[in-house]
């Protein structure tokens, strides 16, 4: 069934605390949970909510994102009537290739907003991992007769002292105040960077705000709206868990949390498959003396050593006698014979030589950059 919502994913935000993981790719393209990229979850959530028209705003380092989503075929977004629209930065525009904020990005992509035909638009940042039913979000938005509904969570571990966006709600669920980067957040509601609004209303908001010289959607425009009481802003509490991927540690923990069966049940619901780019690898092959416990292991791997409490991506090879503990081993990584690694993140294509050893404390996982050899 078709849903009357167009999706727009904003992949702009950079984050230095993700270090080398996000220097070579946008946050949206971060490899997750053994076979996915972060954006796969949002795209799949949209498709599973019956949305057929999705735009992705690209910015900086977007090659790996382009490679990942391609024509959108894996998400069935390659149709004629709608499908996937990639929105790269438009050279020669006022902002060059960098948007200062979401508002700039929306302004530059007004033509996409105008030529979409859906009545509603859901705009989402791509730096969080969660599962959402946009139909349920729209239902609350309509039931409440809100002008714009912002998605939030009360989950404590997405709060950050000194950063983040929070808001206060009155007893009827209307947003009363917004708070940005507080030393200690005053409100318990963390905004997760996703909202729904009538498409034409958004176009109108963007037009007016940019004519007033604003760049930031939430920090400037929404704050002004609350002050002037021009529109009614509601909150929608996300029913499931959220992971805010804003540092190497947060990235590591989000992946490790997927070893918990309840987390997987929340992210991978029956009839709501998470789609991703295919690699057509064969099932993973375990050798006679392989040992694996409490691990998530994707297709196309060869496991000849020991894997414990780890996430192993497609096509990785764990050599004989090697021991991998508490680590994230990305696509096509090779862990040599008798090597030992603990609490490490091996980026795509990296390699540990035979007998190599790399052990980090669990609180500070070591990142081995893409295609590096140690």
């Amino acid at each position: 069934m078709k849903t009357d919502i167009v999706g727009l994913i904003y992949t702009g935000d950079q984050n230095e605390r993700l270090r080398e993981l996000a220097r070579i790719r946008s946050v949206a393209a971060l490899p997750m949970l053994g076979r996915y990229r972060l954006i796969d979850f949002l795209l799949s959530n949209m498709v599973n909510s019956g949305m057929h028209n999705v735009g992705v705003i690209l910015q900086r380092n977007y090659q790996s994102l382009l490679d990942q989503i391609g024509s959108g075929r894996e998400w069935n977004l390659h149709g004629k009537r709608a499908g996937l629209t990639l929105l790269p930065p438009f050279a020669g525009s006022d902002h060059g290739s960098n948007y200062e904020g979401l508002l700039d990005a929306l302004k530059s992509n007004l033509s996409f907003l105008r030529r979409s035909t859906e009545r509603y638009i859901a705009v989402c940042d791509a730096n969080m991992l969660y599962s959402i039913d946009f139909i349920d979000l729209l239902k609350q938005h309509l039931d409440k007769n809100a002008d714009l509904t912002m998605v939030y969570t009360k989950q404590r571990d997405v709060r950050r002292n000194g950063s983040g966006r929070y808001f206060g709600l009155d007893n009827d669920g209307w947003i009363t105040r917004l708070e940005f980067d507080p030393v200690i957040p005053r409100y318990e509601n963390t905004y997760i960077g996703a909202f729904i609004v009538r498409r034409e209303m958004l176009i109108d908001m963007v037009d007016r705000a940019t004519s007033q010289g604003m760049h930031h959607f939430t920090r400037e425009l929404l704050v002004r709206i609350l002050q002037d009481k021009t529109y009614k802003l509601a909150g929608y509490e996300l029913p499931g868990r959220v992971w805010y991927i804003d540092s190497v540690e947060a990235y590591y923990n989000a992946n490790m949390d997927a070893l918990n069966v309840r987390v997987r049940q929340d992210l991978f619901k029956p009839n709501r498959p998470v789609w991703t780019k295919l690699l057509d690898g064969m099932p993973t092959r375990y050798a006679s003396n392989a040992k694996a416990i409490n691990s998530l292991i994707a297709d196309g791997c060869i496991i000849e050593g020991t894997v414990e409490n780890s996430i192993v991506f497609r096509g990785a090879k764990i050599g004989p006698g090697a021991v991998v503990r508490g680590s994230i081993v990305m696509q096509d990584v090779v862990i040599g014979r008798d090597a030992e690694i603990e609490n490490c993140i091996f980026d795509k294509g990296s390699l540990v030589r035979d007998g190599g050893r790399l052990i980090a404390p669990r609180e500070y996982p070591i990142v081995v950059g893409k295609n590096l050899t140690i």
Partner: protein, 390 residues
């Protein structure tokens, strides 16, 4: 008018495959799962794609629905192309006549119009029950270089097994001089693989005359090939020395799955240059629990393993509970092996449930089979060679 194609592939997928017992009672043989994430038909279809053949007609007759849904638009095999693609071809009515496919040759005869849409020079005829990786373009080039009318792919089998196959006797140049079906005293060990290249105008001529012969059983092996040979058409043998396995029986299907566990495996499916494609089911990586033991096995995505898995091929979405034991088994998608169950030398079909404390198969003897969606009773025993099905 469609664009001309040099070669069109026709895949014979209509037989019931009754030697696979309960496995093919509700499923056509080419749709049987293989190797943890494939179906048998993925092998010939992927071979076509990798060989640059982009018109594949799939002749179906027996229980075709699953196969139709599986092939779909052909996108998983890159066959959703503008001029060509994968086509499921069941028998159809042509007015007052129209009938079921009466034999392999008749099924091609009934689809001559399909073939002629592409005005091909050659037709490649394939079977839907073989596991192999083969570059058909090499065979086609061999056919062209030899100016043959028919080229038959053969493989050299051990002499003691030769009497189980259709054997090609050839001269020194590889020209076939005699064809013997399952000879008692074989003169050659070149066994037909059931892969043929025909020069289309020739095949067309023989299909038409065979159709008129009331005594013909309208079969390639029994009628078309011997008649062409007797009429002096040029038939050559093309020797293929890679892995090839007919998986038309329970034992051979099990063996071929087990071959994937050998080190090194005789057929390498990790090969980047010759991928075997399959329809994606969108499952997360598999999870191996704290109590699991997984040794010398293949495990596909979406599985949850808490028990012991040794020497087995485990397909997507399978659950093996703590305390369950699997030894030398082939487990097809979405089956459940409950705690305390012990399964050895068995094939467990899609969605079957091996209930608590059930015992399936034995350390020796024939392979035990539990059919699709069968739920065993608690503690039920299925002996070696026994099949449980609907």
């Amino acid at each position: 008018m469609l664009q001309k194609k040099q070669c069109v592939a026709m895949l014979l997928a209509g037989g019931q495959g009754s030697r696979l017992g309960v496995l093919t009672r509700r499923t056509a043989k080419p749709a049987i799962p293989f190797g943890g994430k494939y179906r048998i038909i993925d092998f010939p279809v992927s071979n076509c794609t990798n060989s640059g053949i982009d018109v594949v007609g799939v002749l179906t007759q027996y229980r075709p629905l699953e196969l139709n849904a599986y092939l779909g638009s052909g996108a998983p095999w890159d066959l959703d192309v503008n001029n060509g693609g994968v086509f499921v071809l069941p028998p159809y009515s042509t007015g007052k006549d129209g009938q079921w496919y009466l034999g392999t040759a008749n099924s091609i005869y009934q689809n001559m119009e399909f073939i002629e849409q592409y005005d091909p020079d050659y037709v490649l005829v394939l079977s839907g029950d073989h596991i192999y990786k083969m570059d058909y373009s090499n065979m086609l080039n061999y056919h062209i270089e030899n100016e043959a009318d028919v080229t038959i792919a053969v493989r050299e089998v051990p002499w003691e097994e030769a009497s189980r196959f259709g054997i090609m006797n050839t001269d020194k140049q590889g020209v076939i001089t005699e064809f013997e079906e399952k000879p008692e005293k074989p003169k050659s060990n070149k066994a037909s693989m059931g892969v043929y290249v025909f020069t289309w105008p020739k095949l067309r001529e023989y299909l038409i005359s065979d159709e008129r012969d009331p005594n013909s059983s309208k079969d390639f092996g029994k009628n078309i090939i011997p008649t062409m040979l007797n009429s002096g058409e040029k038939m050559v043998a093309y020797t293929f020395d890679g892995y090839w396995k007919d998986v038309g029986t329970i034992e051979s299907l099990w063996e071929s799955n087990m071959d994937l566990l050998k080190d090194p495996p005789p057929i390498d499916l990790h090969d980047d240059t010759w991928r075997i494609y399959a329809r994606n089911v969108g499952l997360p990586p598999h999870y191996v629990g704290r109590t699991a033991v997984v040794e010398n096995s293949l495990v596909a995505e979406g599985c949850s393993i808490f028990g012991e898995v040794k020497g087995s091929v485990i397909s997507g979405g399978v659950l093996v509970e703590e305390g369950a034991e699997l030894i030398d088994c082939v487990v097809m998608p979405d089956a459940v092996i409950k705690k305390g169950a012990r399964v050895e030398r068995a094939i467990i079909a899609e969605g079957a449930v091996i209930t608590e404390d059930a015992v399936v198969g034995e350390a020796t003897g024939n392979i035990a089979v539990v059919g699709k969606n069968i739920v065993l009773e608690k503690g039920q025993k299925v002996l070696a060679g026994e099949q449980v099905g609907q």
